[in-house]
Symmetry: C2
Subunit: 117 residues, 2 copies
DNA sequence: ATAACATATGAATAGATGTTCATATGAAAG
DNA sequence: CTTTCATATGAACATCTATTCATATGTTAT
């Protein structure tokens, strides 16, 4: 009898396991969810998002505001856009970015509440 | 005149910049926030958290439920606990973990909404 | 005490990720 | 059309992180 089987019969309450298994979202959804949070899980991106809380900003503005290189900001904005967290609006040579939807504020808001406790 | 200065005077609207700068949280808070989201940004940890949505589970249960090694689960639960996302309750040889507070559900819920759109 | 078991921990390795550097694209101005 | 500027992109490098393996801790039962 393997270690795994042993443990299963000792610890697991069948009903609980079945209940949990039946209510777990699909792996793909969980993967996507983790990918989304990964996007929030970087100081640079969080700072960019927070800056966009207050105003729409172009890449150049953002990089100066936050003391980052233009390239770094551009790379991160690309990731934010790919995950539909920001929107881009082109105006001449500039590209202005803004928050994409209300989820961004809500997710960050909840996170901040947790951190500040 | 450096590239940076050039850009600043061309793109930045002083009022906007001042407004954004004045409303940015402290770097420390933003760092902590990113650290928190980093915790959510891993498939294994998300799966563990979701499993705990439905029931309190011991390490062994969790590892079998999710098809992970005991060690991997233990390492991840340690991180979740350090970030106050789960609670531990010792009962004999077993340690039962459960969600720590309502923020966890809310943050994950918001994230799932965004992903499912 | 000793064996069996659940959990935790430390070190090592492999894979992922952010920044930088160099360069490309595309738009406005001269 | 050539220059200047804002932005984007690709490759390389350095750092971080999750898993595994080996082992330690602490609890229960014999």
């Amino acid at each position: 009898m393997s270690e795994i089987e042993r443990c299963e019969f000792l610890c697991v309450h069948d009903e609980v396991v079945k209940k949990v298994l039946s209510q777990m979202p699909k792996d793909e959804a969980l993967y996507d969810l983790a990918e989304l949070f990964k996007v929030f899980g970087d100081t640079t991106r969080i700072r960019i998002l927070y800056a966009l809380f207050e105003a729409e900003l172009c890449v150049c503005d953002t990089s100066q505001l936050l003391g980052l290189s233009q390239t770094a900001v551009s790379h991160q904005l690309r990731i934010l856009k790919a995950n539909r967290l920001v929107r881009a609006r082109k105006e001449g040579k500039n590209v202005f970015y803004s928050l994409a939807d209300s989820h961004v504020r809500q997710i960050i808001g909840q996170g901040m509440e947790h951190v500040e406790e």
